[in-house]
């Protein structure tokens, strides 16, 4: 039996709703609140049931407008590349600092997407991030942690 991707997503949502409902029942409320008309777990329980009902209906009922996607034409390489890059950015932003990690993230993203105009790649990374940082840090007084700039003595 072949199941459509939308129905598969609905099945996953059904399982997720079941897990959400189970977790909602596990929420510890205060003893005096246990039998109250409304406590911390009331709304999540309703949501869990709503999720189960809507996803079950979608799985059971015939699809009104099935969505067809040609999976062969999708560009997995660049999309996964950018996603990994964003994860690496998250890993380095606190240790390396905002300026260097953001600039390197931008340079790498331009290259992954096929850009080869090196002057623009440079302008729209290091100087661009420096100006943006000045706007936030210098003008709007929003503190940006940057161990690298602190180490070389640019930031206090």
């Amino acid at each position: 039996m072949k199941i459509s991707p939308s129905k598969l997503i609905s099945l996953l949502f059904f399982i997720f709703s079941g897990y959400y409902l189970y977790t909602a029942y596990q929420i510890q409320v205060f003893a005096f609140d246990e039998n109250a008309p409304f406590n911390a777990k009331t709304f999540p329980i309703y949501l869990g049931f709503a999720g189960l009902v809507f996803s079950a209906l979608y799985i059971i009922l015939p699809e009104a407008n099935p969505t067809n996607v040609d999976l062969k034409v999708l560009d997995y390489k660049k999309t996964i590349g950018l996603t990994i890059l964003m994860i690496l950015y998250g890993l380095t932003i606190l240790t390396v600092g905002y300026f260097l990690s953001t600039s390197i993230f931008l340079v790498a993203s331009y290259i992954i997407l096929g850009e080869r105009k090196w002057i623009w790649i440079f302008i729209l990374s290091f100087p661009f991030v420096a100006i943006f940082m000045y706007l936030l840090h210098g003008l709007l007084n929003i503190y940006l942690r940057d161990p690298f700039l602190k180490y070389i003595g640019i930031m206090g």
């Binding site: 999708l74 606190l94 953001t102 850009e115």
Partner: protein, 500 residues
């Protein structure tokens, strides 16, 4: 009243105050364009500066920043599908597709004219009806708010589902589930935090909206870059288009603006409702008002689809000043910050402000209006330059969108956990979008989740656990019947009509 208006005008039109409006509008637009920094942040950033001025000048500067930031938020919604504030999410439904068709200039001009018109009409309402409207706002009870929120969610699910109501309703539930993460507002009991401190405050709006809109849009463009059908739809982004509107477009706006202004203003007056619900309801209402041919254009760059939410959110901004100035109750996050600023100046807003300090009352209203005029004069000539953002090649634009999204979230929390969560949500959203699961219902549900639970809690506690609150009052019954009608119509359309 006339005397009060003249005093307000005299204060607002002095050289110093006019300069403040211009500076406020310009800096507000720039701040509002940065994802993560909305009107609330912009005003909060201005508070320390305004304490050096007299109350009127300080409030005038803040009013300029407020409207500038709202316009700036619309700009990023239209150009890069990155609504920085909930009130401009509905603008992106048609604004972004219109920009993608090479008409970015026109989309921004429609947004500017609609915002101005919505603000003007609501300022007139504010002048005439502010004191009496405060009584109307007090007649809404928790069950009515709860009903109004379900109405908003079903309306959004109905118009954005593209014939698949159940998919949209699943997204509504998912949005509400995401909103339920974090400590319970009343009892502080942690829910769905899995002993992770980063989740105890819940998931931030900026994170969810950036992940589901800006970031997943960028990933979808890359994902579908080789799709011939999709590539054909994405017309060259180098076309900026004219900012001039033709007769037909102006005609459409002329009919849309008055009804959206009225709706926006009324919703804005209700404490807690605000610009977000106003813009979504106006979008849904407009879709029901237009003819079938125009209805098909919704979501694909409709003039009415941009004008309605833009008018309503600005009208609601003015409307939200009614409970603030007449009752001392802030109707939205932004007016809550304004309340803080007013208290800092030693002014206590409330029923007596209108009688005891009429000059403050009227100068706030007048300065708001002058702010909008300045904004229109200042920003219209700049639109072609602002719209040039879209001329940036995709190889540069997409990394920059990702950069603004990541920075927007990083600025909120300064930790990398939010960055990982954002990437996770964006990846899931990209897959969901691929199979036509709509994102707008998820966002609205996420925004309304906390308020909805709060109002349901109050309603159930007052009625001692009985669900009779849903039909106890005529106003609640009307709202509930409208919801039943929308749901019934959707089911009829999906199944019965198809068989015929």
């Amino acid at each position: 009243m006339i005397e009060g208006i003249l005093i307000g005008l005299q204060t607002a039109l002095s050289f110093k105050n006019l300069m403040m409006v211009i500076i406020g509008c310009f800096s507000g637009t720039i701040i509002g364009m940065l994802p993560g920094l909305g009107p609330m942040t912009a005003i909060a950033l201005m508070i320390p500066i305004t304490y050096g001025f007299d109350p009127s000048t300080g409030l005038i500067l803040m009013a300029g920043v407020y409207y500038g930031a709202v316009f700036g938020g619309s700009t990023s919604s239209i150009l890069i599908n990155a609504p920085g504030v909930p009130g401009t999410v509905a603008t992106s439904f048609d604004g972004y597709p219109m920009a993608q068709q090479g008409k970015a200039g026109k989309a921004l001009a429609i947004a500017a004219y609609s915002s101005f018109a919505g603000g003007t009409i609501s300022a007139i309402f504010l002048l005439i009806a502010a004191p009496s409207l405060s009584l109307v706002s007090l007649s809404f009870r928790s069950p009515d708010y709860f009903g109004l929120m379900i109405l908003g969610l079903t309306a959004v699910a109905a118009f954005s589902s593209k014939g698949n109501f159940l998919k949209a309703m699943m997204m509504v539930v998912l949005g509400l589930m995401l909103a339920s993460v974090g400590q319970d507002t009343l009892s502080d009991i942690p829910r769905f935090t899995f002993d992770n401190m980063n989740l105890s405050d819940g998931i931030s709006f900026v994170l969810v909206v950036m992940a589901t809109f800006a970031m997943s849009e960028a990933l979808t463009i890359i994902f579908k870059a080789n799709d011939p059908t999709k590539a054909a739809k994405q017309i060259s982004l180098s076309q900026l288009g004219s900012i001039k509107l033709d007769k037909d477009e102006t005609k459409k706006m002329v009919t849309t603006i008055p009804r959206s202004s009225v709706l926006g203003f009324i919703i804005g007056v209700l404490p807690g409702a605000g610009a977000t619900i106003a813009s979504f309801l106006a979008y849904g209402m407009e879709r029901n008002f237009v003819n079938d041919e125009e209805k098909q254009k919704f979501g694909k760059g409709s003039v009415n689809g941009i004008a309605a939410p833009e008018t309503a959110n600005n009208a609601a901004c003015s409307g939200s000043f009614v409970p603030l100035l007449t009752l001392g109750i802030p109707g939205s996050g932004t007016t809550a910050v304004m309340l803080g600023a007013l208290l800092g100046f030693g002014i206590q807003p409330g029923p007596r402000l209108y009688q005891t300090n009429p000059e403050i009352f009227w100068s706030v209203i007048m300065s708001m209006y002058i702010g909008m005029v300045v904004l229109l004069i200042l920003n219209l000539p700049l639109i072609p330059y602002i719209a040039r953002v879209l001329a940036t090649p995709r190889t540069f634009l997409i990394p920059l969108i990702l950069f603004f999204s990541l920075t927007g979230v990083y600025l909120m929390s300064f930790n990398n956990f939010d960055i990982y969560m954002m990437i996770g949500i964006a990846v899931v959203a990209t897959i969901l979008r691929l199979y036509d699961f709509p994102m707008p219902p998820l966002i609205l549900a996420f925004v309304l989740g906390g308020l909805m639970e709060e109002n349901l809690r109050r309603s159930l506690l007052i009625s001692d656990g009985s669900w009779s609150f849903m039909w106890d009052r005529p106003l609640t019954i009307v709202i509930m019947l409208t919801i039943i009608f929308i749901v019934g119509w959707q089911i009829y359309k999906s199944f019965v009509k198809k068989k015929l």
